[in-house]
């Protein structure tokens, strides 16, 4: 298994190089640094001097791929491609528009992001799977039918409405929790309750329906009939037998997003003013902070690949028949 994992890590390298090339092409070839300077500086009649200065401060005044003016290795290293793209591989993200170090900022903001994303993930999974098993338990009854209709209706509502409606009802009308903000330590719970509940509720419709179809695939298998024939109660059949056997398709969809929890949620964090990575990304997008967006794209890809790796490992944990070689 170790050798399999090492091989998988090596497979990830070409993909990361590809992601790196995509970001390089998007951010430096589609638009020249001059265009970006003009977009960032905003003014229509910006002087060439200001553009040159903007580029010099950020290190965008170097040639793209090959520096003819430098000596030796400098010909390759003293370029935008090396300084801005290759350095992403060692998580050297450079500086944001406000001059702060992006890597440091990301470390700082991971905590608040996880404080929201992890409870939403765990609770959401628990609620959705329980609900789906309940729907399967009442399979082919009116309860099942209307449950599915409710799921479809819930997944047809935009996440924006859950957040706006939740904030309006709970915080403004009933004044149970503060509308937005964040605090450290135990005090944070006050601010986290509403976003977590909204995050769970907004995801239920789609995921409960999805798990229901997975469980329905299993419900007519022979082992289920055997379990019923043994005289086990339907609940035991569902929670002990069906759930375990449905683990592989569930894990395929679930484990891959675990590393991405670090990135937080764009919408929730920005509506509730939580200083996590979601807010950071959204602020960067709105402020056209290209360096931060580039860093987040690369980080997201790395985390996704880690997620794929974790998925493979999780298969061996839940299903002893799977051997990674």
């Amino acid at each position: 298994m170790i050798s399999y994992l090492i091989r998988r890590v090596f497979y990830a390298i070409p993909i990361l190089i590809g992601v790196n090339l995509i970001t390089f092409v998007l951010f430096f070839v589609v638009n020249s640094p001059d265009d970006m300077a003009r977009a960032q500086l905003g003014a229509r009649r910006v002087t060439q001097d200001a553009i040159e200065q903007w580029k010099a401060v950020r290190g965008y005044d170097k040639p793209l791929l090959y520096n003819g003016n430098a000596d030796g290795l400098g010909r390759v290293t003293d370029t935008i491609f090396f300084q801005k793209s290759i350095k992403l591989f060692v998580f050297d993200f450079g500086r944001a528009e406000d001059g702060r170090d992006i890597g440091h900022e990301i470390m700082q903001r991971m905590g608040p992001s996880l404080a929201i994303a992890v409870p939403v993930f765990v609770l959401g999974l628990y609620v959705a799977i329980s609900l789906a098993l309940m729907l399967v338990f009442f399979h082919a009854t009116y309860l099942d039918f209307w449950g599915v209709v409710l799921c479809v209706a819930m997944m047809s509502i935009s996440a924006l409405f859950y957040i706006i409606g939740g904030q309006f009802l709970v915080s403004k009308l009933w004044q149970l929790v503060p509308i937005s903000g964040y605090a450290t330590g135990l005090d944070a719970a006050r601010f986290l309750v509403l976003p977590v509940v909204i995050g769970v509720v907004s995801g239920i419709g789609a995921s409960a329906r999805w798990y229901r179809t997975i469980f329905l695939e299993e419900i007519n298998r022979d082992y289920v009939r055997t379990a019923r024939a043994k005289g086990l109660s339907e609940l035991v059949v569902l929670f002990r037998h069906v759930l375990k056997n449905a683990m592989i398709p569930i894990l395929t969809g679930v484990v891959v997003v675990i590393p991405l929890l670090f990135l937080g949620s764009l919408l929730t964090e920005s509506f509730f003013a939580i200083p996590g990575l979601g807010t950071y990304t959204i602020d960067a997008i709105r402020g056209e902070d290209f360096a931060v967006v580039r860093a987040m794209v690369f980080l997201g890809a790395v985390l996704y690949i880690v997620g794929l790796l974790l998925t493979d490992i999780s298969y061996t944990v839940v299903d002893p028949r799977v051997r990674l070689q």
Partner: protein, 470 residues
């Protein structure tokens, strides 16, 4: 002619799409084996009710896609919908006003005749302006609404009777028997669901349209625009994003998926590498990066676009392309897996033994047999894309701010809830229309998937067999 027809890029693509759908419809009618599958969709009651609602949305969207340039107003592009609802477009108030209100929502200081100043809610310029006494507005609305309801019911009865007569003629049975058949759902097409949906739509739409000429039925927004009109205009944007995105990525996804699955080898490796790379970047971030760059390109070439409408349209199309580029990987993966399976089947082997070229096998034997996956993903993606547009507009990487869309509406409306007193109607209007659109799209796509997907078909058969057994 008092106007010149104008064609935006998205209009052209929409017409092409509609043309393709019509052609596909004729083709399906001529092929018995395809007809069997689609009859299942026609039988599905939720599916047909949803389709009826969807068709109303599509009709509004198509009306809004017929653009022209009036001779008197140079440069400004209008649509047929603007021309039909010209009063809604031009009758704007000063600022917020509540639904069916006769007065503004904010107090204004006016000078009385005796010279003293007073703070009053001024009358609206258009909403309820025909009334001598605004206190009568409730009775007036009630009277107009009852007339509208009677008109709607009459129209609905005429349509229902026409459908019944046609069915009765086709089956050569009496009118009463045909009507009973429809009510019980014994017809081949789920006419009871269609007629029920038509009735509900008529009961809502006719009063809305008739009242909207005298009142702002959904109120007005901050700059006094009629919210009902803005909501209707948003429909087109949602439809464009929902359909054109899938349409633009479809050729690539289909070609690459089939090539990878059928040819295998190095082609497969390269294509798999491309989609693994693209799909490893989280969607929102890739879209954000691409949209930011697209915006810089458009901003640094202002000479490409003659009018702001054309520029907004180009941004809309670019957004569709970007969404397409970031979302084709899922479909491509499905098609590759299916082509991989089909390649080993006897009929493909036979074709190869007869010396049919690879290109021809892929076109004649593989492509038609993966079309159900393409269609399913087309209808399944639609609702997700409409929802995504709203989120992207909130993040700031959606459509041009001058384009009316559900996203821009929600974005401007979300701060209005924090106002005192609360302005809730823009948000409520966007919410209602979006829910109706997305919900009907979801229900319809479920019906299509149940009919087209052999996987669910076999499962449904298994389930009904299992239920029948004990």
């Amino acid at each position: 002619m008092p106007f010149i027809p104008a064609m935006l890029w998205t209009d052209a693509l929409i017409y092409i799409l509609v043309g393709c759908l019509v052609l596909a419809g004729f083709y399906v009618r001529s092929q018995e084996h395809l007809l069997v599958v689609w009859r299942k969709v026609l039988q599905s009651r939720p599916g047909m009710a949803a389709l009826t609602v969807l068709l109303v949305f599509v009709a509004v969207g198509l009306l809004d896609s017929l653009h022209y340039r009036p001779r008197d107003a140079q440069g400004e592009i209008r649509s047929a919908l603007d021309a039909l609802l010209v009063r809604l477009k031009t009758d704007s108030e000063k600022t917020y006003s509540a639904p069916f209100a006769t007065h503004l929502y904010a107090k204004e200081t006016v000078e009385r005749e005796d010279g003293s100043q007073a703070s009053v809610y001024p009358r609206l310029k258009y909403g309820g302006a025909h009334l001598a006494d605004p206190a009568q507005s409730f009775a007036d609305i009630l009277a107009r609404a009852s007339v509208a309801v009677i008109v709607a019911l009459a129209a609905w009865l005429v349509v229902s009777a026409a459908v019944t007569v046609r069915l009765a003629r086709a089956a050569q049975i009496g009118f009463a028997r045909a009507a009973r058949g429809i009510a019980r759902g014994e017809t081949e097409v789920a006419w009871n669901a269609i007629l029920l949906a038509t009735g509900v739509i008529a009961l809502l739409a006719v009063p809305a349209l008739m009242l909207s000429s005298h009142y702002h039925i959904f109120g007005t927004d901050k700059v006094g625009n009629d919210v009902f009109f803005l909501t209707l205009k948003s429909i087109r944007t949602g439809l464009v994003i929902g359909t054109l995105t899938t349409l633009t990525m479809l050729p690539f996804a289909a070609a690459l998926g089939i090539l990878a699955g059928y040819l295998g080898g190095i082609v497969d490796d390269v294509i798999q590498y491309i989609y693994a790379t693209l799909s490893s970047i989280p969607g929102v971030l890739l879209i954000a990066a691409a949209v930011l760059m697209m915006r810089v390109v458009i901003d640094s070439h202002p000479q490409w676009f003659a009018t702001t409408a054309e520029r907004a349209d180009a941004r809309l199309l670019a957004l569709c392309l970007i969404l397409g580029v970031t979302s084709w990987t899922g479909l491509c993966r499905l098609l590759r897996a299916e082509a991989l399976k089909l390649r080993e089947l006897e009929y493909v082997q036979a074709a190869r033994a007869f010396g049919v070229s690879n290109a021809r096998i892929m076109l004649r034997h593989i492509l038609p047999n993966v079309m159900h996956i393409v269609l399913i993903s087309l209808v399944m993606d639609f609702s997700g894309l409409v929802l995504a547009e709203a989120v992207l507009s909130y993040v700031g990487i959606g459509v041009d701010p001058s384009t009316t869309s559900f996203g821009t509406m929600i974005n401007t409306a979300r701060l209005e809830l924090a106002r005192e007193p609360v302005v809730w109607w823009s948000l409520a209007a966007a919410f209602t229309f979006m829910l109706a659109l997305v919900l009907s799209a979801n229900l319809f796509s479920d019906a299509v998937r149940d009919a087209l997907d052999p996987h669910t078909r076999s499962r449904a058969a298994r389930l009904s067999a299992a239920r029948a057994a004990p």
